[in-house]
Structure formats: C-alpha cells, structure tokens
C-alpha cells in the first residue's frame, strides 16, 4: 500500500479512532520513526501507547520509536501569531488581548484551519527526516468542517498572509505523497452511510483516502449449522452467538460496499480483553503492519 507522509485518522465518536491512530503510528514505526499527533485528553489511547502521562510537548515512547505531539488549539494560535508577527513582545501582547481572542474566535474555521496548517508542517518535517506522521483527528466537528476550512479562510481573506497559507494547505491536502486519510468505522448499522459521506467530503476537495478501517470485527467462530445447533440446544446462548455473527456479516457487507467505492479496506479484530492496554494496541499494530505490507 502506498503511504503518504501524514495520515489523518477520522471517524465518528466511539469507533475507536484514537486507538486505531495509536496502533497505526506504532505499526509505521516498525519501518521508520513515527509521530503521533493527538488531542490532549486524560486516559487517551496515545497515553496507553506510551504508558505514561506526557511530560512535555513532545516526547518518545519507552522504545523511542513513536514521538507524541499534543495538539492544542490555543498553542497553535500562539505559534501562528509568533510566526506572522515579527516581534515576540508584540505577539505576546496581542495574544493577551481579550479583543484578539474574540476576533480570532470570530474568524470562521480558524481553529480547523490552524490544525490543518499544523498538519502541513508535520508532513513537511516527516518528509525531511524520512519519517511518518499520524494525526488523531479531534473528536469535535466532522471531517466536512475541517476540510472546508481553507476555502472558508480564502473567502474571508482574499489577500495577504492567511490567504497564502490557506492555498498552501489546500495544495497539501491534494498531494497524495504528503496527505492521506484513514476512515474508521465499526460494523454497526448506519456506519456505512456516515463513512460514505466522509469519503465524499475528501473526494470533493481532491484529497486521497488511504484506506477505510473496519474496527472491532470478531473472528468467526460459528457456521450456519452450528448456529442452528446452538439455537436448538442452548437457546439462551443463541443471542450472544448471533450478535457475534451479526457483527461479522455487517463487516462483510461494509467491506464489499467500500471496495466497490474503490477504497482499500482493512479489518481490525475486536479486542476481547478485560483491559485495553499497551498489549492491545500492539496487537492491533501488528495486524495493521501485515495489512499495510500487502502488495
């Protein structure tokens, strides 16, 4: 599978998107050093991955392969202002001004835009160092809002620095060597429709979707005969066996449909474990690594 420098992992809340992002970063780190950019939250998958609270802005996992970068809208704004305002003192004064915080909040899509700009920089660094970067997309707001941000910025700022930056971000998103998205879904009803909408949002701006990941797919345990036998002999266990079967059939249906839309599809197993720790993320990473190595 041809991989871009930076992969944005998106999906609805509850699909296990953060865990997939962490596992993907770990999988890629077996080839090249990798960076995982994530939203700072307690108990996040990224922290499970490193097994500790992040101490600083950036630091490595115990084995030193995945570096973590915490994304924070306020910090991105500060970086951005410091870049475009020539004097540091001036930049600080501006950031402290309440009025400024109102003005910046009033620019439609500025937050999303700054996140995309950060991704562009991350991808640039990754290319320079021959590394990979994985971004766990923020839970709030959908892919649509995120992807529309550059166009929105170009409309409100027809000229000037922001406009230039927005067109660079737009180019970045359309460059398959630098950017690709991974759409995460679970084998649930209606998940397919949401994923298709996500796919269309990326296609509309000309961005590439590297793969769809169907997460939480149980291994097949029973065939049709066996299910019948269970229904007959131990009916109280039938619902449980059928639940498993239903997830498998839904995953199958989703895979067919997504392949028909021209997508690469990766299935990840349901982790039936009492705790979701480092071992689980490592197991998912191993599976991803195998899938990514397919010709």
């Amino acid at each position: 599978m041809k991989l871009p420098r930076l992969i944005l992992v998106t999906g609805k809340g509850g699909t296990g998107k953060s865990t997939v992002a962490a596992a993907l970063a770990l999988a890629l780190s077996h080839r090249r050093p990798a960076t995982l950019a994530y939203q700072e939250r307690p108990h996040s998958a990224a922290q499970i991955l490193v097994g500790a609270q992040p101490r600083a802005d950036t630091h490595g996992t115990p084995d030193g392969k995945v570096s973590l970068v915490a994304l924070d809208w306020r910090r991105e704004l500060e970086n951005f202002i410091e870049r475009i305002v020539p004097f540091k003192a001036l930049a600080h004064r501006m950031l402290e001004s309440r009025t400024f915080s109102y003005v910046s909040a009033a620019v439609p899509g500025l937050q999303a835009f700054l996140l995309l700009e950060r991704m562009r920089v991350l991808a640039g660094n990754a290319a320079l160092l021959d590394e990979f970067s994985v971004v766990d997309a923020p839970a709030t707001g959908n892919a649509l809002e995120l992807l529309d941000a550059p166009a929105g910025i170009m409309t409100v700022a027809p000229l000037g620095t922001l406009n230039r930056m927005a067109s660079q971000v737009h180019e970045f998103l359309r460059d398959p060597a630098r950017f690709g998205a991974v759409l995460v879904l679970k084998p649930e009803e209606f998940a397919l429709r949401e994923t298709t909408e996500g796919l269309q949002a990326f296609e509309r701006i000309g961005a590439r979707v590297t793969a769809a990941v169907i997460n939480c797919v149980p291994d097949r345990l029973f065939d049709a005969h066996e299910l019948k036998a269970i229904r007959r002999s131990v009916p109280e266990h039938a619902a449980l066996a059928e639940h498993r079967q239903q997830m498998i059939s839904r995953a199958l249906a989703a895979r067919r449909q997504l392949r028909r839309l021209g997508l690469e599809v990766i299935e990840l197993p349901m982790i039936f474990a009492r705790t979701l720790g480092h071992a689980a993320v490592a197991a998912l990473a191993e599976r991803l690594e195998r899938e990514l190595s397919r010709p």
């Binding site: 009033a106 620019v107 406009n163």
Partner: protein, 382 residues
Amino acid sequence: MSAKRGRSGAPGRRLVVCLGLGGVGKTTIGAALGVAAALGGANVDMMTIDPAARLLDALNLDPTSADLREVDLGKLARSENDDEPRARGQTLRPGRLRALKLDAKHTFDELVKRYAPSAQARDAILENRIYRGLSAALAGVAHYMAIERVLELCADPTASVIVLDTPPAAAALDFLDAPNRLLDLLNSRAIGLLGSPRTFARRGLRMVDLVARAVLRAFDRLTGLHLLGDVQTFITSFAGMYGGFAERAERGRNLVRSTEATLVVVTTPTLERVQEALEFIQSLRKSGLEPSAVVVNRVTKELPGVRELERSGLPEPLRRKVEQNHAEYAALRSREGQGLALLRRELHAKTPLLFVTNLESEPSTLAELALLGRALRLLLHA
C-alpha cells in the same frame, strides 16, 4: 449538593435536559423519553440538535425546517394499549408529541429581528460578514441558541414536558455559560478598543489598550483579513439590543437551574467515556448543579450461565466454541464493569443510574423509541 433552584415558568411542567459528550446517544435517549412521556399522556415538545437520519424519519422531522412538527402517535398509542392490558374500558389517552430540529442560525436571525432597535440596525447585523460567517464559531452560538429556543418552547403553556437535546460538549459550562460568554463579548471593552480615538479618550483607556489596538490593526493588515471594521460594526450594532439579550440569557440560566429541570447526563460504559462523563459532572458541580440522573447507554447485556452447557448435549468442539464466545463477551462486560464501578463510586448514592442495554440496532422507528423510553420512564417521575 444544594443547588440553588427556584421555580419559574408554568407549574408542574417538566424540562428534561440531555447532556453529555458526542456519540453517546443523547439525541436517541432524549427522543425515547419524549415518546414515552407523550404515550403516558403528557403534551411533549422536543428539541433535537443534530439527529441522525433514522431519527429524522422516526420523528417526522424536515431537515430544512426549524418549526415544531406534530408526530403522529395514533397507531403507536393503540398498540401500546394492546401491549399493556388495562381494566375494561380504561385506555391510555396519549398526549401530543411535537419535535423540532434546532437551526442555530435561524434562531439567531429571529432574535436579531426581534430585538433590533431599528430596521437599519437589523439589516446592518444580518448583512455583516462576521455575523454571517459566525455559525457556530463564536463563543458557543449553537449552545446559546439551544437555550434561546427552549425559552421559546417554554412560552407555550400547553406543553407539559419539554425535552431538550444539547450540542455535544466536553464541559457543562460550554452549554450552561454560553449566554454569558456571548454577552461578555457583546458588552466588552472590545467595543471601545475598536472604536474611534474619541471614544478612547472618553473611556480613559490605558496605554496597554492603545498598544493592543495598534497590534490588532497590524494583525488585520498582515493577515489580509480586514476584519476589524466588521467586528466593530457587528458589536456596535448589537449595543442597542444588549438589554433584550441579557434578559433572555438570565431567564435561560434560571430555567436550567429551576426545580422543573431534570438534568440527565448520558454516557456509554467504556472506561474512557465514563471518565469523560465524570469530568463533565464535575464541571456541572462547579456551577452548583447536580445531575438528576445518569443514563449509561449501550451496556452489554447480562450473559447467560455457562453451567447448563455441560448438560446441553452439544458436541464437544462446538461446546468449547460456545464457551469461548461466552468468555470473550464476559471480558467485554468486565471491561464495562470497571467503568460502571467508577461511575457508582463517584456519583451520589441517591443519583439514579439507568442502564440501556446494547440493542441489536439503534432505534429507528417510533415503536422502537417507545420501547427504549419505557425503560427510562423513571426519569419522567424523578
């Protein structure tokens, strides 16, 4: 927790507010409550924020309209009566159910039209670039408009239960304080800062502000945004409407804190979500509020026993597989158990904790919503 709660609005009316993070099923839980209340005889008005397509269909909502629409309960009420046998001649008379989908922009427009001191001021705002690009970007407009729309619903005395779905929020304050934050902006020194130098002199602004003003102007030029003029127009046009907005915000705040409000926090049982929900509840407590109940959605069903498998007569290999399947689901349940135990520990003993088991499919018809709502009826009598 002694939340300061006073009465306001119609006596005996109940306002059910569903709060929580995104993706936990707030809208579905809210809709189920609404349907159950209406079938129980209440006159229900319900506001949804961003319903999935399956709920739009079930609730007869038109995605392009912001108006309340009647949901036809006729057939459902009849089958409900068949399901629950009653004394002869005594059938349940359903109330009415109306639902709407929040359109924040439309609500904001209506507010502006109502409070603008003149047609000129109204047009200046409605055509302002900042206002038009505002949608949800500015200081929680969606949250504020949700509260505003509920005030409108409360103005109708015929409604006995009002169910309110809220925009996803990580902190309770995002929602509860939204009116304050918007008012803060509209009434801020920003007006003075952006205004003419003469206003400056009158207000006696400090040197710091002068520097900030210069910097802002530089920012405006550098970025090519040329926003300052528009922000200034926007804020000054609002000056005349401030009183009306402030009064509405105050009423909204009182409503959520009143005794008639039932605050329902919705979560799912995974440890991560529970921890986020507890942070949310902490932020509620900081503003002097306690959840009336917590609903845990999508809990794995109770598992059957394994003992009877021994005597089941299943061939050995298949029996092993059934046992494996059972063990794996037991592990999932135990993972959820950690989240639920934490929730129980952190909640007050008297706060009801309700569970909704993981359904084969998410409710997508009125009948399915009614079934789910039946399990949650307790909330309507809390």
